[in-house]
Symmetry: C2
Subunit: 435 residues, 2 copies
């Protein structure tokens, strides 16, 4: 008896969706993978693009290229607008795509704790657009400081605020510190030797609060060594254009980055599903939507049980594992095999890097710090890549950049013009030399 | 007797301005280099970024990085708005910069023969912004064709028009042909195996008209072999959104690129100078502005005499040579040495590439074609780089890309959304599979 081919539709080409597609490639399912972007993004390294350490092509790969050798996977660049659960079809504007199995893996976006007006002044870092915009902002702040003789303006331009003390915030703060230190030491004239002020603001008592306290403390020390000022245990009270308020203190900063919170993409609304406070869809033990065994919700958009009574964290490994799990489950069902049982998140540990040579790795019983952790961090990130060209290529590529680029990615694509970018309070007044 | 330091101000960090700054670095002049962009762009390879062959970081370098080791050169990211010739100062909005010597090297932009409305529908390729916009356009055209079942819409989406048969147009047409051929062969499902139509429209009788006829003919053959259709001897009559008219023929094309003409940047207006029809400033034999021996105008913005009664072409080597010449002249004058005589353009020949393995090189008595010319073309481009990191690094970098990237730069940075990008005439209607 031949089973008809299952039509599996996957929304989202991040870690969850792409892993599911890749695992389903070896089955006899017909897979359609839909994303609004044409590339898969290695998000953990986005902060490197934002601080001119790597170029976009080094952390993103066209989805069509990744899945080129998988003829049963069909890719569509489009935007989902809704789901018809009863009719089992996906809505994309006027058109629909029917499914037998649906996997929703649309990820997360920034959360501003209800103050969405802050998004304009304190953008986050979730996409290549975000990273390139931040990169331009940081570089242009330095360029403007070079042209501005007004001390207050210059101080504001040379102040960078990162909100959020998790891995993203820590990595960003460390990288901005290194970028500005090097630039100010070598590349400017009027602001040569000045110090940039990099503040990391966190509402919790310690940075990297999901790591063990000794590694938190190590990270704090490493950040301070890089010149980052930590404001811990104080939430941000207000964000405006070029200033944040923490308690009674108002800090003027031309560059503010939000790394403090995420919320799930709006898929929960499409599915009319029950969600938690962060908008994450609550799913069953097998990651399916309650009462809809053919609809799976995985990754950052879901509140996934970890198989041990807790909740899986919103990290790349969890999304990958979930994608692989669901693919296996779908294939088992299609062939009448026993299901793999409930999803179980295997926690291999947490990693964060601080600058170019220090990192922390909390691997349960094993804790690493410093250069050794950093080597481990590099190895883990390479291992993690989903057939992202091939791993050897990527290692050589990143090594090459690391050794030679010297922030060669320090490009601002657009021309600055007086009508747009240059708001100098007090331009330099130059005196004609006698001749 | 000590001479006061000359204050040399250079506007433009392209080939002309950057070469002048680099040569003046070894003198005792105080140099200020101003550009609206923070990077020097290797324009000859811009078409590679536009067709996803190379990434921006591989053909552009931050100006501050290039001139890092030259302490007498000061860089400002700003926009010049005028020149006060009598007062010998540059105007940048409200501020001014005085000069003893001024070098204007602001380059060229696109020319539409008076029809500036065409610019919106047929953008050119002069900056990284242009290149990335074109790259997105080409990639999104393919993605839209994959989703559109309407034959006329699909044909329009798979038609690419390049206007202009000079080196830029030829290189672009060849690269688009290769990109689409590979993508259509491997990466799509509904449009797999279809052919894109690439047209190269030129008003002259033969492509690469500045090359000798035999090399023109070779280039024509190489283009046709790549699948490019040539329309020669016919100027474009009209350009509208997604269509061009040539004589009586109206061709619908979602992507139209303008490589047909350039005009000088508006510096001529700042200088109230006499200009030719393309807006180029007419300069004396020593590249100075008539009656203003301390103001030099070089590169594509100038109509530079070639020292043999003719005019130097608007190519990178001419700009480089002019930059070096003016630096030498300024330094000689400052120290009371004899001037180097009139500017003389040394024509080392012309190069153009057609696809990844063929090129033509017109080196005067020596003509090269095919693979040998291509090797020569590569070597010449590498040699040409102005301390662009270092040449060894760049060779390895480009070789790496060439061998491994497989158009890995095929990224569209922005997310497509139904409100913006996706205009599908006839979306695919999909039938539910029995289950």
């Amino acid at each position: 008896m031949s089973t008809p081919r299952q039509r599996v539709v996957i929304v989202g080409a991040g870690f969850g969706g792409l892993t599911a597609a890749a695992k389903l490639a070896r089955t006899d399912a017909d897979v359609t993978l839909i994303d609004r972007r044409n590339h898969h993004l290695f998000q953990p390294l986005l902060y490197q693009v934002a601080t001119a350490g790597l170029a976009p092509t080094q952390i993103a790969s066209p989805v069509r290229m990744i899945l080129r050798r998988q003829p049963n996977v069909h890719i569509e660049l489009d935007e989902v607008t809704g789901v018809d659960l009863a009719g089992r079809q996906l809505r994309l504007g006027d058109r629909t795509i029917p499914y037998d199995q649906l996997i929703v893996a649309t990820g997360a976006t920034h959360a501003y704790f209800g103050r969405d007006g802050w998004a304009e002044h304190a953008p986050g870092l979730k996409s290549l657009e975000d990273a390139l915009a931040l990169r331009s902002r940081v570089l242009l702040a330095l360029e403007s400081a070079e042209l501005d003789m007004d001390p207050a303006a210059r101080e504001r331009l040379l102040t960078f605020v990162v909100v959020g003390g998790g891995p993203t915030g820590v990595e960003l703060a460390g990288a901005i510190a290194e970028l500005t230190r090097r630039a100010l030491a070598c590349d400017f004239r009027r602001i040569r030797g000045q110090r940039a002020r990099i503040l990391l603001i966190d509402s919790g008592p310690r940075v990297l609060s999901t790591f063990c306290p000794s590694l938190s403390a190590y990270a704090k020390g490493a950040l301070e060594k890089l010149g980052v000022e930590l404001m811990q245990g104080r939430p941000v009270g207000h964000v405006e254009a070029q200033a944040v308020t923490v308690g009674d203190t108002r800090i003027e900063a031309a560059t503010i980055v939000w790394a403090a919170g995420v919320q799930a993409s709006p898929a929960g609304r499409w599915l009319a599903a029950e969600t938690d406070r962060a908008g994450r869809v609550i799913v069953d033990a097998d990651l399916s939507l309650p009462r809809h065994p053919d609809v799976f919700v995985i990754g950052d958009v879901a509140r996934m049980p970890d198989g041990r009574g807790g909740v899986a964290p919103g990290v790349a490994p969890a999304a990958k594992q979930a994608g692989a799990y669901v693919a296996k489950l779908i294939d088992a069902r299609a062939h009448g095999r026993a299901s793999p049982g409930p999803f179980r998140y295997a926690n291999y540990g947490s990693l964060a890097t601080i600058g170019r040579k220090a990192a922390v790795a909390d691997l349960g019983p094993v804790k690493l710090r410093g250069f050794l952790a950093w080597i481990f961090w590099c190895a883990a990130h390479v291992w993690f890549l989903i057939g992202f060209r091939n791993r050897v290529q990527v290692v050589l590529d990143w090594l090459w950049s690391y050794l030679t680029f010297e922030r060669g990615a320090r490009l601002v694509f657009e021309a600055v013009t007086r009508s747009r970018e240059i708001r100098v309070v007090s331009p330099p007044v130059e005196v004609r030399t006698a001749s």
